[in-house]
């Protein structure tokens, strides 16, 4: 009887005449959520950047957590133990490497004021070496005064932003504390977050949602872990090679090459360029320059043929033009982080769109599934 009365009341009016709460349509909720997210990104860009970096760290550490989870160890215990282990490893590495790195940084900073002059001298020496072999090449080089002025202007322009870097030191230190903090909680609670999302999803969309989530996780996880591994191998190989060739600052240059390697195409050029410049200033001769070039070309070849296929694998299926375009757009929008994140982001977008379109075509009947072509079908069963 009561049920009947409720059913007969106008929409939104309860049995006692009170107005019942009617939830707003989902499109309004989505619009509000997107507007809020955009506002947060606009107001606190630095926080978003920190969250992205924390997410990247979490993705890198996640395989270790999963390994612990596979033997039914509590996620919280596993994450705490892994973070303590990582902190110990990092402290040990810092203890071993920091004195050497500090010495290299000190040597570099003491030689910095005279860098234009030293570079000019090195270029001059190389020019003389070339013109003594091929006198006709003399016409190709500009006059020394003009070159010195241009070089000076270029280096001044490039180093103009260096004082700003010092002012960012506080932010960098804060990030060093906040990133492990955020990534710890992201890792510890990610399963709960996913589960609560799964509980809220309507059953009709569960398979599509799981498929989309798995694709995102697969692409981003494999890309970031591969990139980190790739960077470490490249950095170590470059540092070792430069040390063998007797180039100054091998640890700094190796570290820089490893870091720069995360930016597709441009990174290896930048890493190799800086190492060649250092070799040019140090040796003032063409032969060591060629050796450094050969070292970086060999590393790039090794990277393309052996390292990348085993680390990043086939997680990224982007057309080279789309890849470059996404790196440029990412760089313009979010700087270095944008350049790193652009490739997996565009890959995710591409794969998820493909997946959703396929399902849509299935539902609308425009896609008729056929057994894979080329596979012979057994005409009988026995």
């Amino acid at each position: 009887m009561v049920g009947k009365r409720i059913a007969q009341t106008p929409q939104g009016i309860g049995p006692l005449g009170k107005r019942r709460f009617a939830p707003p349509p989902s499109s309004i909720i989505w619009a509000v959520a997107i507007a809020l997210a955009a506002l947060i990104i606009y107001v606190s860009g630095e926080l978003v950047l920190l969250m992205i970096l924390s997410g990247m760290v979490a993705y890198l550490v996640n395989p270790l957590v999963r390994r612990a989870e596979s033997v039914a160890i509590r996620r919280g215990v596993a994450v705490t133990a892994i973070f303590l282990g990582l902190a110990t490893v990092l402290l040990a590495a810092a203890y071993l490497l920091v004195p050497r790195l500090r010495a290299e940084v000190n040597a570099l900073s003491s030689s910095f004021p005279s860098i234009t002059q030293r570079l000019d001298e090195a270029i001059d020496a190389v020019q003389q070496e070339i013109t003594s072999e091929y006198p006709a090449a003399h016409r190709l080089f500009p006059a020394r005064e003009a070159r010195y002025d241009r070089l000076n202007a270029f280096i001044e322009e490039q180093t103009a932003n260096l004082p700003n870097l010092v002012s960012y030191l506080a932010t960098i230190v804060l990030a060093g504390v906040l990133i492990p903090f955020f990534s710890y909680f992201l890792l510890r609670d990610s399963r709960k977050m996913i589960q609560s999302l799964m509980d809220r999803l309507p059953p009709a969309h569960i398979e599509t949602s799981v498929a989309v989530w798995c694709e995102i996780e697969r692409i981003i996880g494999r890309y970031l872990r591969g990139l980190a591994m790739d960077g470490m191998v490249i950095g170590t190989a470059a540092a070792l090679g430069l040390w063998i060739l007797g180039v100054n600052y091998p640890l700094l240059l190796g570290g820089f090459s490893g870091l720069a390697n995360v930016v597709p195409y441009l990174g290896p050029v930048l890493g190799g360029g800086v190492a060649m410049l250092t070799a040019l200033i140090q040796f003032k001769s063409l032969a060591p320059l060629a050796k450094v070039l050969m070292l970086y070309l060999s590393i790039k070849l090794l990277d393309d043929v052996v390292i990348q296929p085993t680390t990043i694998g086939h997680s990224v299926h982007l057309h080279p033009m789309l890849l470059i375009a996404s790196v440029i757009v990412g760089g313009h929008a979010f700087g270095l982080i944008g350049m790193i994140v652009a490739v997996p982001a565009v890959t995710v977008l591409q794969e998820v769109t493909k997946l959703l379109l396929e399902r849509r075509r299935y539902r609308t009947g425009t896609l008729v599934a056929h057994p894979k072509r080329g596979i012979p079908i057994q005409p009988f069963v026995c």
């Binding site: 989870e69 596979s70 039914a72 398979e207 396929e358």
Partner: protein
């Protein structure tokens, strides 16, 4: 004693329960605990209310489902309406054909009572198969056994229907049914 207590404290009872259930799933029969653990971390859990549809016949399928709790019925529509194929209880699995081909779902799955299901996405399954030959051999062997079971039971039903229509009533209900 202290070691045992520490182990108990560090163990996740929910994950342990899932792991113990996976040991009973026929598809994963013969796999070591280490390998079951690799499957365990790839699973998603979803709860369904009684009567809720898990998937519909003809929809694209991309995942395997394992019954963790509750009861799930599998049915297939024909001219005379929905024909029940099987009722599944904890430890049973369905939707396995999605792991093999990209064809639409063969049957409809519905929760008969409040049920919790574990979901294994096809790409994760493919990754496991590609990365671990021991898992691939066991799981593919079990999948083949299940498929031969479907073929034999379908063949038996067809022939018994042709020879003596009455015999089909006594034929074993397809406990192994493709979904």
């Amino acid at each position: 004693m202290a070691k045992l207590r520490w182990r108990e404290w560090a163990t996740d009872p929910e994950q342990l329960r899932r792991l113990q259930l996976l040991e009973k799933v026929p598809l994963f029969a013969g796999l070591s605990r280490r390998h079951l653990g690799k499957i365990l971390v790839k699973l998603f859990e979803k709860e369904y209310d009684p009567g809720q549809t898990i998937f519909l016949e003809g929809e694209p399928g991309k995942a395997l489902f394992i019954v963790l709790e509750g009861k799930v019925s599998i049915s297939r529509a024909d001219n005379s309406g929905d024909q029940p194929l099987a009722t599944l209880t904890p430890g049973a699995y369905f939707g396995e054909l999605a792991l093999i081909d990209d064809l639409p779902r063969f049957a409809t799955a519905r929760a008969d009572e409040h049920s919790a299901l574990l979901i294994l996405y096809k790409s994760h399954f493919d990754e496991l198969i590609e990365g671990h030959s021991a898992i691939a051999i066991r799981v593919m062997g079990n999948l083949l056994k299940a498929l031969t079971g479907y073929v034999r039971s379908a063949h038996f039903r067809m022939t018994s229907h042709i020879v003596t229509p009455a015999a089909s009533a006594t034929a074993p209900e397809p406990s192994e049914r493709p979904a």
